[in-house]
């Protein structure tokens, strides 16, 4: 998995976001075993404590769970993952609408542009 960590924002938040998107994109499938904290930290080039903190947070929100003896797993609950996917789609759309607003387009105008482009792609 490719990691892109910058130093401007808290690293643990970036790790959470990137693990979430790798679950959404299917890099991690429901029920997959999560690599060890040490391996993940080495891959991402970050401190193991920070990686640990991110995984604990992912556990808290139910995306990852710990089996006492076997380590960490991605949740098998596809509903949770579906919810995350929708949340992520909402966020991307909100960001997009925000950017369009900055360019001076109203919501109606933006919708027209989207429709037009979607149809162009069809052809």
């Amino acid at each position: 998995m490719q990691w892109h960590i910058d130093s401007e924002r808290p690293v643990y938040i970036q790790l959470i976001e990137q693990i979430q998107s790798s679950i959404i994109s299917g890099y991690f499938n429901p029920g997959d075993k999560v690599p060890s904290v040490r391996d993940l930290a080495a891959q991402a080039g970050v401190n193991p404590n920070t990686m640990q903190k991110s995984l604990v947070e992912l556990e808290r929100i139910g995306l990852v769970h710990t089996n006492r003896t076997k380590g960490r797993y991605i949740t098998s609950d596809t509903e949770v993952i579906k919810k995350l996917k929708i949340e992520s789609a909402n966020n991307i759309t909100m960001d997009f609408l925000d950017n369009m607003k900055k360019l001076g387009f109203s919501k109606e105008e933006t919708l027209k542009i989207i429709k037009k482009i979607v149809e162009e792609i069809k052809e």
Partner: protein, 232 residues
């Protein structure tokens, strides 16, 4: 968990010049900590005090409850700013030397790292470039199973590719019980691996905080904050 290092109100003067003034610091186990500050802010002095090469004028230093001395040298692995190894020795000989000297030295680990960085075991130190010599010393220091590592400018002369390897070695060798204290100017290179950061300014501790807290509160990287705080 117990503190690995405690500095209580340390002051150190060099013939009238104050290098450190009333420094209080407590370091926990299991952290990677950056010791940052401009030239002459007291970083090297602090590391020398921790390693017993200097004695404070006042105040107290304790490593796991013990003042710096023979006993603490067993648990502290120190990379000084200057080379102290004999130039006539080969890599093989310095590895043997470290093995004799330190009970916690892991020969296999050292040879693995030397191999990964393509360092010839039969080469004499005196024929090596500055950067290669630095790599050898850092490998020796990191091959110990110490409780506290004090690294004084460990990657200054090392090329960026090897820098990544070395940082990766630090991360993957990290153990829950040991703490790594790194003094450096290459903040952008190392800040992703740090837990905490200590800013030294004019012989005193400006602040000591978690790096992610700094990013949340200041909205910028440690490197950007450093450039702002110490703007000339």
């Amino acid at each position: 968990m117990s503190h690995i290092l405690e500095c209580k109100s340390i002051t150190k003067k060099y013939s009238g010049f104050t290098a450190l003034s009333d420094v209080n610091l407590t370091l926990e186990r299991g952290r990677i900590i950056g010791l940052l500050g401009p030239n002459g802010s007291g970083k090297t002095t602090l590391l020398k005090l921790i390693n017993g090469l200097l004695v404070p004028d006042s105040g107290k230093i304790e490593i796991d409850g013990i003042e710096p001395g023979v006993q603490t040298k067993k648990v502290v692995s120190y990379l000084p700013e200057k080379t102290y190894l004999a130039e006539w020795m080969t890599v093989n000989q310095v590895v043997e030397f470290f093995k004799d000297f330190y009970e916690d030295f892991d020969v296999q680990k050292a040879f693995k790292m030397l191999e990964d960085l393509n360092i010839n075991k039969n080469q004499k130190l005196k024929t090596m470039s500055k950067g290669t010599k630095e790599k050898v010393q850092l490998i020796l220091v990191m091959s110990r199973e110490a409780d506290l590592y004090c690294l004084d400018e460990p990657i200054g002369g090392v090329d960026p590719a090897s820098r990544d390897y070395i940082l990766n070695t630090i991360i993957s060798n990290y153990r829950e019980n040991s703490t790594i204290l790194i003094s450096t100017h290459l903040i952008a290179d190392i800040e992703k691996v740090l837990d905490e950061v200590i800013f030294l300014k004019e012989s005193t501790v400006l602040f000591h905080s978690s790096v992610d807290d700094v990013r949340v509160n200041e909205g910028k990287s440690i490197d950007a904050l450093f450039r702002e705080v110490f703007k000339c």
